[in-house]
Subunit: 448 residues, 2 copies
Amino acid sequence: MNNELDTLLKFLRFPSVSTDPSRKDDVRNCGQWLCDLLQEGGMQAQLVETSTEGHPAVIAKGPQKENRPTVLIYGHYDVQPEDPLDLWESPPFEPTVKNDVIYARGATDNKGQLMAHALGALSLLEKEGDLPVNLTFLFEGEEEIGSPNLEPLLKSHREELDCDIIAVSDTGMVAPGVGTFTYGLRGIACLEFSITGPSGDLHSGIWGGSVANPASALASLIASLHDENGKVAIDGFYEGVSELEDWERAAWKKLPSDEAESLAITGASELVGESEYSDLERRWARPTAEVNGMGSGYQGEGSKTIIPSTATAKLSFRLVPGQDPQKILELSEAHLKKHLPAGVSMQITPGHCGSAYLTDPQNPAGMAAQRALQKTFPQSKNIALIREGGSIPIIQSFKDVLGVDTLLLGLALPDCEIHAPNENFPVANFQAGIELHRNLLEELSSLT
Amino acid sequence: MNNELDTLLKFLRFPSVSTDPSRKDDVRNCGQWLCDLLQEGGMQAQLVETSTEGHPAVIAKGPQKENRPTVLIYGHYDVQPEDPLDLWESPPFEPTVKNDVIYARGATDNKGQLMAHALGALSLLEKEGDLPVNLTFLFEGEEEIGSPNLEPLLKSHREELDCDIIAVSDTGMVAPGVGTFTYGLRGIACLEFSITGPSGDLHSGIWGGSVANPASALASLIASLHDENGKVAIDGFYEGVSELEDWERAAWKKLPSDEAESLAITGASELVGESEYSDLERRWARPTAEVNGMGSGYQGEGSKTIIPSTATAKLSFRLVPGQDPQKILELSEAHLKKHLPAGVSMQITPGHCGSAYLTDPQNPAGMAAQRALQKTFPQSKNIALIREGGSIPIIQSFKDVLGVDTLLLGLALPDCEIHAPNENFPVANFQAGIELHRNLLEELSSLT
């Protein structure tokens, strides 16, 4: 285990923040390191370019034989930005192990889970000289910026990536030790908008009263996104939204997760949202509109009495089956334009998009995945069948381009602080992940 | 003139930003330099400490004789922060003279106008060996942070600052060459508030739908500050507000200032605000609520799909005669608390305050000031009698502590970009200011 943990810690030291142009080389170095690891472990690995501005992907293949299924494992080696840096208790890119928990940006999302798959395969290869299936790894460096080049890559490497089933570990477990199979994900649509009023910051005494304030205009637009019941107030937003099945509502009620746990993890004083849905239902099966960031005017120490010239906000919508991300962006733009106050202008920049995903957990591949989970987590009475609120837009691309379903077997715990300061991954989950990978390949080898 | 201009440029090189703790020494060095200049010019000057954390003031006196009036000239040598730095066409603290206009932070507000008074006095002293009145300069270093220590200073130096009339050049001219007497100012009340939701930033996919978003909460509070007609929607906000006199509305209509000019100066696409008042009426005699700055979540490049943990905003209210700043802060706090959405907490930090000011332009001192303006600007048919939208809270302190009125004889033009990037002051206004000071002392010498 020490060797395996050391390998993960090396992987975590790369600040592979894909959204930050100044980290472009770090992302590439991280991909190259991963490629070398797989090559040295006995796989055929290559670093595959995406676009001139983009980050490369890693494609690696194990021994190929006829008459056995081909399994593609997807992961991503890029990570979210680390800020706000001052809230980290240890440096985000100097992984620290404390009480058997690994703290680092990417520890869970997704380097820890990716590396569990990689080392599961390499350990089998070392021991057996072969794997139970034809294995392909596809590890990309652009997931956190919406995988802009993955679909073209799938298309240009269509034959090389041909497979019978895909597995991804980028989701969660409902509780420690409870094997969890995720059969649905929310989609996403992002946009940024900026408001411009006066051509420069103005003295709020000299001009206040006659000139529209871009910060106020931005605030009124953000406030217009929700009605008083917490519903998204964009015309047509809920059109076509699929309602939950009865079995799902019933199954989720039995999960070892309650509102007290949500409050403890988030530190929120109370849970809010659509009152006719439970906490899990709201987060896994209902669409949302969130402000991810906004800024205007003077944010330094003390006061500066100005009317700011500009104001900007970043929005993201989480979507559910039945919603089309492009359509949601169009409706959002129309909403913002309709509610734009007088005296200011607006520029809207659409961001990345991805559809929601939903599959049947009881098909043969789903049943194989559930058996592998049961073997890895023998102490869990039932495998938890859940959806998740996050988005892995490329799952839909896999379905569209490669024509296959994806099994989501996550290893993240609710308090792993994904995308937040002090992201962490228990060593036990890393170990279980290595074993899960071996069990999964074995169970999938019987698929016809 | 070259010597005088050089002196001003030296003064402008000090980055005396009073709100920035890292510039504490720069503020002090600027005050000491000013003190030395006055002392070397033949006045009795001293640097006067305010508080341990505060910035010192400069008090200087000319020759004192019996049976002539004492005139106190007030100014401030501290300046607003220079950001956004990237919008400056020349460095804010490396003054640049282009087409006979001086570009620098503080060029107009207030170093240029202060220095016109100082050099007016020093030139008279050099030439005559005396001044027409007993002159006292009071130049402070804390005006841009609300003069927190000035009232205590006035009290502790009550005798030294005893005077018959006060004059201040920290206001505007309605147009180049038009002598302008300002008989009213708006007051101010500032506050900052911050919203806290989850204890850290959360993944917007995992938690979106169940956890209140502090950025949305902040936006809804800001949006709640105004109604759909642009009026401030805080209960009781307009209680006691003094309405404009008929003569004021009539006089202001005749001023060489129109809405087209306001649009040209501000770069706004249209003027907004209370429709039953004109542009000038809204800016000079109506109260406002403005957002000076706000921030939440991820404001860097690219996207980061989080629910931010916190959001903050800086507000300032411009007030008119009849409004009590402390009362306005109380009403605002009550409003914010009443409209706070569920699931978040709020912390409110009151900021600096100052009452509005209004005096009678036709009293003897006012008439003397108008004569001095007429002499300095012989080409202007009438002296413009105006109010202004900005705030000089200490004018009310002068009235309260020293018991005297203040004459506001401003030299700033509408496009001087006060508090904004590319602040500037025409060399002609600086020259006129030096002459105005000499004329003013002469006219005031006849006051009994």
